[in-house]
Amino acid sequence: MKIALFTPINPVRSGIADYNEELLPELANYAAIDLYIDGSYSPGNDRVNDHCAIRVFAADRFQPGAYDAIVYHMGNNFSAHRYIYEAMKRFPGIVVLHDYVLQGFYAEMLKATRDPDRYLSLLQRYYPRDGARLAQRMIDRLPQPIWESELAMQFPLNEEIIGMAQALIVHSDFLKRQITGRHSLPVTVVPHHGHRPSPYGRDQARRELGFNERDFILLSTGFVTRNKRYEAILPALNELGLSHLKYVIIGQDEANYLKVLCQGKPLAIIRKGFVGHDELEKYLAAADACLNLRHPTMGENSGSLLRMMSNAQPVLVSATGSYRDLPGTAVIQISCDVDEKEMIKRFVLALANDPDLRQSLGREAARYALEECSLAGCARQYAEFIGANTAPARRA
């Protein structure tokens, strides 16, 4: 089987790039892969070359007939996925939908193309009743974009992409339920794969990062956005007042959201911004517990969550969307209502005071990542589904 695979890769700062660089070696066991990127960068990871041929996509030179299947990895980052969007319009294929809500992608497109008419007509086509109003909100740049609101799942703006797809791969049963209720095309669930645990030991990582043995290290990773619930987490930790607590937040904060939240408040947090893979692994080894809250949900699955679980970390997640499909003993699910802050406080306190609880939860998390989300298992599921959904003409 020969596959044309469209995905951004490093140095593009994207969870989807990391995801595919980890999956590729396993997927290469089942298929010959040509990996298509756009021409704006050179691959930052030489090892990707070992498992596939990297090509720069040019629509006029692309030959779909040379492949059994074309696979597109689609996400919200417009600059990283723009060429993928253009390609799938001309050459339909199997779409891996990493983000269910694609409002962000189209809003970035609006900003880049300055074409409000196209944006408006798209919204009106898929949401005849509310589309014009929603589009106008974006065009007028009113505060709180739709993807930060509870409305996001009602107006995902993924219809055009799904309409172009021959088949879909999603990462959770939750998303499959959302899609099969609205569209009729083959859909399968391949869970977000787990990761290899950090090669660092806890003591070594702490030493190298400058932490004490007594420190209780809490860790959050990933882009800093409003729906990561920092506005609940920070006051909760502040109220707890644990003297030995060190809360580390790793991830780009383009909107300076943390700075705004912390203004005038005595919050002891360690903001790290974007860090390299090696440093991230040190923090994952050094941490005692992790926070991975997301609300409102965009239907996404979190690569950073699977990384935490693979490292046997106890993790607090929001009780919403795909997170609800996770076993109740592999993660701690935090309600998204008025009790959110209270629940964060009491579970962080319980984890800080009880090493046995941390260890038990960490074991269950690692068990889930290992058994349900192994890289090899996920690659096999990809290969089976792609094989079953190759285009009829190509199959013959």
Binding site: Q144, S149, S310, A312, G328, S360, R363, A369, L370
Partner: protein, 382 residues
């Protein structure tokens, strides 16, 4: 990952579940005793409406349950336009953390812009936002000019301030699904409708299904009492119609009754006292209440508490949260007096149908109580 395999085969699942649910079910801070409560409302001086009555009722109910309660009301003025922003600022700058050295444990905020006040423990029971900036925008009553830059700026500021202030509450309730729907539609904020009983609860009662249909409301255009009068000629001559309430439409309604030749069958009572109102509900065979887009609609609840069916319209808003067509009443298109008359005839000629629908209505509202409202506002036991 093989090193983890060694760690895994231990029977931790059951005890872990137990530990986690035990931690979850501990009482929360807000479930501890709340002593001092302030209810915040904005008021137009010399104008007392549903919101003010609601605040008074809430205060009485909280006091009755042993809480120390006070109403904090600040005048609201929406003209000239800058006054709206001033009113918002006044609430934003208030310090209600304590009063005379006494800590205020909880704020219950109600309508725009009272919910802009800062407090560490506040719950919203939303009566309404500044509707002119939302559902009434671009209608003649909005007062905003969509072509005016400064108007658009002010509107955007109101929406942004609402988004921030409403989200800062520990819990968000509204008085009805209609209000919740607007909040979700325009601000993307989910909320829970929390219904409260009508003013004379629990004194409503049922006596019989008499020979008259009842209309209770202020007599203004939006209440559309004229629809009932227009339907009367097609109703049995032995049937009477009693209209309780006063308002600017009264002279027109009298004239309409005369024009339709039904003066002898329509009785205009004007405002009636509580006792008389309870009797009217107890003795009518049905209640007509078909206003345009009502926020809540106390009359529906009053009718149902008295086991009476309700006739309403398809665009009556909050009323439709309770009235279900051919289950506890009838829902007809506004302006279709022939159909309305047909449904009235049906009920008048079949009192067992009145009973069946009236009982179903009672079933629908029987759990609406102040106990429930206060339990939710102060924090339910989970």
């Amino acid at each position: 990952m093989s090193q983890y395999r060694k760690l895994i085969p231990q029977p931790v699942k059951k005890s872990l579940s137990r530990v986690l649910s035990k931690i979850k079910s501990l009482p929360t801070d807000r479930e501890h005793a709340i002593g001092t409560i302030a209810i915040c409302g904005a008021q137009v001086p010399f104008s007392t409406g549903g919101a003010e009555n609601l605040n008074e009722a809430l205060r009485a109910q909280l006091q009755h349950r042993g809480h120390e309660v006070d109403l904090i009301s600040i005048p609201f003025k929406w003209y000239p336009r800058e006054q709206i922003a001033n009113s918002m600022r006044i609430w934003q700058q208030l310090d209600l953390s304590e009063a005379d050295g006494k800590k205020i444990d909880l704020l219950i905020t109600t309508k725009f812009p009272s919910y802009m006040v800062h407090h560490g423990n506040k719950v919203l029971w939303l009566v309404h936002q500044y509707r002119q900036a939302y559902d009434l925008y671009e209608t003649p009553v909005s007062g905003f000019d969509p072509r005016s830059r400064s108007d658009n700026k002010l509107r955007a500021m109101i929406i942004a301030a609402d988004n921030k202030a409403i989200r800062s509450h520990r819990r968000i309730f509204t008085i009805s699904k209609n209000v919740s729907r607007r909040l979700l539609k325009f601000n993307g904020i989910a909320s829970t409708p929390l219904y409260h009983p009508p003013k004379l609860f629990p004194r409503y009662y049922h006596k019989n299904y008499g020979d008259f249909i009842l209309s209770v409301s202020r007599l203004d255009k939006l209440k559309r009492v004229d629809g009932l009068i227009r339907a009367l000629p097609a109703c049995p001559r032995t049937m009477r119609c009693i209209i309780a309430g006063s308002g600017p439409e009264l002279p027109k309604l009298r004239e309409l009754a005369s024009q339709y030749g039904v003066t002898d069958r329509v009785e205009f009572l004007g405002r009636v006292d509580d006792q008389r109102l309870l009797e009217l509900y107890a003795e009518c065979f049905a209640v007509y209440f078909a206003p345009y887009d009502e926020d809540y609609g106390y009359v529906t609840l009053e009718a149902f508490f008295a086991h009476k069916p309700v006739l309403t319209a398809t665009d009556s808003g909050g009323t439709l949260e309770f009235v279900e067509h051919e289950r506890n009443g009838f829902v007809v298109a506004p302006g279709n007096e022939q159909l309305l008359a047909e449904k009235i005839r049906l009920l008048f000629s079949d009192r067992s149908l009145c009973r069946s629908y009236g009982d179903a209505g009672h079933e629908q509202v029987k759990n609406i109580s102040w106990d429930h409202v206060i339990q939710e506002l102060l924090g339910p036991a989970k």
